[in-house]
């Protein structure tokens, strides 16, 4: 595999705000990368810089090794799927999909064949003569996708492609997106603020915070070993425990009122933070407090979430922890003292 897209220290400023701050990222041919971040994290700006709609103030965008500085959008080997789809309202579905091929000056017969093939790929052959406003939201999304894919670009940029769809349609469309990506072999960069979407679809997830790349890793690695407090909090809303490392490989956390065993060596006396996922903690009404990786507290609130309960527990030291209890387990009523326990492997040492 070879590098398709390389971003080298890309910065972009809008007025006083720094939308992108020295961002570097490389991705390979045929890879599916999700750009994950909250609003204002710069993820959409990054997509627009890659597409050529915004020029970076500093840094370089390389596509296939070629610097894209000064190259207009129409000359870049990438195609974009816009957040609101940006389908041409005055053109039929067929003409929308054919638009890019016509700009390449292909013969009419080839265009008709390729558009027909592309529409068949998403089951929209029967809709070729319709106008965009005569389609459902899901159908419009697929037309927008196919309009980008029909040019067979090595790189497809997707701006919140599932954002405008109903929750029920989102998962199935996401799987369809992934299947299309595999079938065409194009590399996908997908902007999203939905962590579940990013984890489910992408080969790698790049987490953005305030215009900076915080961590870029395969979904499992990102979830199981988040590099920073931000990533740990953004993905799955992990608890973060802070403490001071002891000589015995333990972390003493006064705010939580507990002691953690660390799996990684930390210099004694230094401060450290550990992420602890809500679903790794076991909650019980009574029992003996083990010396480490356990805490006592008072159950404050219980929220039913279908697959289980989300409990908030006020610890002896003052900190509040989120604990996920499976649906098949009984939850004591709020106000009751509880015992929390978790395995050593659940302690994820954060870099920052």
């Amino acid at each position: 595999m070879s590098v398709l897209l390389a971003l080298e220290g890309v910065s972009k400023r809008f007025g006083a705000t720094l939308a992108l701050d020295g961002l570097s990222l490389a991705m390979e041919r045929g890879e599916f990368v999700a750009l994950l971040g909250g609003s204002g994290s710069g993820k959409s700006t990054l997509l627009r810089v890659i597409a050529g709609f915004e020029a970076p103030e500093a840094g370089r965008v390389l596509l296939d090794g070629a610097d894209q500085a000064g190259v207009p959008p129409q000359a870049r080997p990438c195609a974009m799927v816009f957040q609101n789809y940006a389908l041409f309202p005055h053109l039929s579905v067929f003409d929308n999909v054919a638009y890019g091929l016509r700009r390449e000056g292909l013969p009419k017969l080839d265009i008709a064949a390729r558009v027909g093939q592309a529409l068949a790929m998403v089951g929209l052959e029967a809709m070729a003569g319709r106008r965009p406003h005569q389609l459902s939201g899901g159908q419009r999304q697929r037309v927008a996708l196919v309009r980008a894919l029909v040019k067979r670009p090595p790189l497809v940029l997707l701006d919140e492609p599932l954002g405008a769809l109903d929750a029920g349609l989102r998962e199935a469309t996401g799987q369809e997106l992934r299947a299309l990506q595999r079938a065409t072999g194009s590399a996908f960069v997908m902007v999203t603020h939905d962590q579940a979407e990013a984890l489910a679809l992408a080969d790698r997830v790049a987490v953005l915070e305030a215009g900076r790349l915080v961590q870029c890793a395969p979904p499992q690695e990102l979830y199981e070993s988040p590099a920073t407090r931000f990533v740990a909090g953004f993905l799955g809303g992990a608890n973060v425990l802070e403490g001071v490392a002891g000589t015995d490989g333990l972390l003493h956390c006064p705010a939580a009122g507990c002691t953690l065993r660390l799996t990684t060596l930390v210099p004694p006396g230094s401060r450290a933070a550990v992420a602890l996922r809500a679903e790794r903690i076991t909650l019980s009404a009574e029992g003996e407090l083990p010396p480490e990786n356990a805490a006592t507290g008072v159950l404050r609130g219980v929220t039913y979430q279908g697959a289980g309960w989300l409990c908030t527990v006020a610890l002896a030291g003052g900190q509040t922890l989120r604990v996920q209890v499976p649906a098949d387990r009984a939850v004591p009523p709020p106000g009751v003292p509880v015992l929390l326990e978790w395995p050593v492997a659940a302690n994820i040492l954060l870099a920052e």
Binding site: P89, Y99, G100, R103, K151
Partner: protein
Amino acid sequence: MLRAIPFGWLLAFVAVPCLLLLVIAFAALAEGVPPFAWGSLSLEALITLTEDGFYLAAFLRSLRVAFITAALCLALAFPMALALARAPARWQPVLVLAVLLPFWTGFLLRMAAWVGLLRDQGWLNGVLLALGVIEEPLPLLYSSGAMLLGMVHAYLPFAVLPLYATLLRLDRGLEEAAADLGAGRFTVFRTITLPLAAPGAAAAFLLVFIPAAGEYVVPEMLGPPEAQLVGRAVWGAFFQDRDWPLACLLAVLLLAVLVLPIRLFQRLETRP
């Protein structure tokens, strides 16, 4: 009750006058004031209209002048409206105000100003004579060119505003999408901007064409005296020939001819 007000208004100021025009148009001429006989029936005006080529020629000339005026206004208004719509948002109110600025001066004054500029002893000829470019004053005034200049000057804002409104609503994301799919700037304009602005362009054209077809003042002040337009013909029939039936018939006919473009304009305006 509330619905009765506009209905009553239309009845009193549109339907009744139209009916009166029709009644007079088919009345017989008579000596006296008014110069026709109430309750009489005559087809003389209709016969004059069909037999005297002068009136038909004035009609066609008016429609042609209105068409050229509307086309010129559209051609000038499009780049103006595009520049307005693409200007920074904080400048747009000022620029729109600048487009409307001519309305702050009286219409007759603006046309009189053209007379002062274009006549034989006018500013333009004066400057050209002083510079030695010409030896005799150019016959600028009372020409088709002067008339079109005045018409375009008078009606240009009517073309700019509907186009501006249309272009402002146009989703710039569509132009970006077209560029992303490989279209150069001109192709984006030709395949996306222009077709999407077409309803606004049609509205702009009609908004100029409809009043320009019946225009009286501009051709009278700036146009050639020999090639009369329908507005002048109505005036002539009414005041010079005292042929009220003919004047009324011409007026009704102009209204009938313009019903089609007016309906077209209304359909464009009410479209979602």
